[in-house]
Symmetry: C2
Subunit: 327 residues, 2 copies
């Protein structure tokens, strides 16, 4: 009997959400999606539970994050949390997880998800995944493509071929991250889907260090004989910065996304996240400010304009230069 | 033998420095002047010590602030800290303190100072005070006037009469806070000095509550037969808002006045005050912001543009409306 399994790639590191994200609490552990109380990784698991029971969900993560990941999912068997000893991008990691699954069910269909993306319309998301599963049953490797809403140069593109299902197409060609002119051409042509690529992975003490660090896209998908793409239209966001977090967050009538206890007077379009954990009552007050990101943790406070959200790395660089403060 | 005594009016309350200022830690206890480590009240005392020994300095303050005031000045006899049971503006308070002084030295010359103003050039300040003392020795009530640097409508004005000393003049007339046209006329005419008026006072359980609440200006000075004014030119600032605090604070080359541990990347003209007292290491990071006031205390964080510093009262009003948080 053939079963569907899910592999969730939860090895992400990164500093784009400093000071909320840290080495021991990277982005997937943060509530950055539409629900301000739900970590992205938990939302990822919840989203696929109607398609896949917990005992067939595997989560691949870094060794240093394995305990925190197990704690987050008491319903998932501990053996399903795969702790990668070193990071080797997504291909070795998916290879390992697929081998674990094959031992349990040699005919399994395997879904692979990033842990730290956000989805607004979860029913539409599951519809797309179901269509991808049916394509996989016809021996294709199926990916999800998102119709670009702007000439984005940050992702790879997929050139669509023949229609092969309700929302699905043959893959004519993968195109690396394009320059702006090319992205504009793809965007206006309407025959290219943006592919969210380049998920970080991490990885087994003996094997992983000698494996090439390569993504599943380059390592496998682009070389596969039968490829299909399902057009996804479910409000996808890879939550790449505090700006994305503001876009996804529930906001009041003045465009503010505020933690409880925040007072905003004559202020608009701000993101304020009070992530302190000591439980002491405090107030954060804004007067007359617009478009700011304000993030407070137990040991840091960040203030920057939303439009400069990518520049949080400048702070992280400065902290590394100074030393002495955890990044 | 005639001695010079000082009365320091340290009963000030007010919310313009929320969240730093609180009922039990009003403005005069905060380091808002040129020295970021010295509370305004302590600077006021230090400034006059060359003119007046500690045993002849009296500090009038509210009963609820008496203990904190004594703690700040171990060198001043405890009997010199006058605790007013209720606030009755400056006239009753100065009347009481003057009576205390008269019992010790019926011929004393008395200086009266607000506790919470800042002075940049302390030698020039003491020169002006010395000239005022010499005028007092000639039986005048002498006040210090500041030459206006703009047509300010927030203070009263003094019209200058005949020159009677190096920097001093007879007082021709006091003028209440003028409207803008009148202030402009005074400013351009050059015969008016701005008088920093309206110091708050507080005041003895039996007497004070039935005394009229009136300032020394209205209650006494404007009715006195012999009045003189000394032109002060010593970089005076009444530290009326976080904006004033920024103006007074030492700043780096990019106009930032920062507490230690603050990282400012591509940011300028900000005032950042980390007033937390728990001693835990923390970092405050700004990226790409300009002209902000950021004040963090143990239980509150305030963020507002410097130019809107007066609007901190909007937060205080909102907190009072909500209840439950100390203002």
């Amino acid at each position: 009997m053939e079963h569907t399994f899910a592999i969730i790639l939860a090895g992400g590191a990164g500093t784009r959400f400093w000071p909320a994200s840290r080495q021991l609490r990277p982005k997937q552990f943060l509530p950055l999606g539409p629900d301000p109380d739900e970590p992205l990784l938990r939302a990822t698991v919840r989203r696929i539970l109607p398609l896949c029971p917990p005992e067939r969900i595997l989560i691949a993560t870094g060794a240093h994050l394995a305990a925190a990941t197990r704690d987050l999912f008491p319903e998932i068997p501990a053996a399903n949390i795969l702790a990668e000893p070193v990071a080797r991008n997504t291909a070795p990691c998916i290879g390992w997880a697929t081998r674990v699954i094959a031992r349990r069910d040699p005919d399994a269909t395997v879904m692979v998800f990033p842990a730290d993306h956000a989805v607004v319309d979860e029913d539409a998301f599951r519809d797309a995944i179901s269509e991808a599963i049916s394509l996989a049953h016809r021996d294709a490797i199926a990916t999800i493509g998102l119709q670009p809403t702007r000439p984005e140069t940050g992702y790879g593109y997929i050139e669509l071929g023949e229609t092969i299902g309700h929302q699905s197409f043959e893959v004519k060609r993968f195109v690396e991250k394009p320059n702006h002119e090319r992205a504009l051409e793809f965007f206006e042509g309407g025959r290219h889907e943006a592919a969210a690529r380049g998920q970080e992975g991490e990885a087994l003490a003996d094997i992983f260090p000698i494996l090439p660090s390569i993504s599943i896209d380059h390592g496998v998908i682009e070389r596969a004989p039968r490829l299909a793409v399902v057009r996804g239209d479910f409000g996808w966001n890879d939550v790449g910065s505090w700006q994305s977090a503001w876009e996804l967050a529930p906001k009041d009538a003045t465009g503010n996304a505020l933690s409880s206890g925040v007072i905003a007077v004559q202020s608009q379009d701000n993101l304020v996240r009070d992530l302190r954990t000591d439980g002491r009552p405090r107030v954060i007050a804004l007067v007359g400010v617009e478009g700011l990101v304000v993030v407070e943790t137990d040991d840091a406070l960040l203030i920057l304009p939303r439009e400069r959200a990518q520049d949080v790395r400048l702070v992280v660089d400065e902290l590394k230069r100074r030393g002495g403060h955890s990044v």
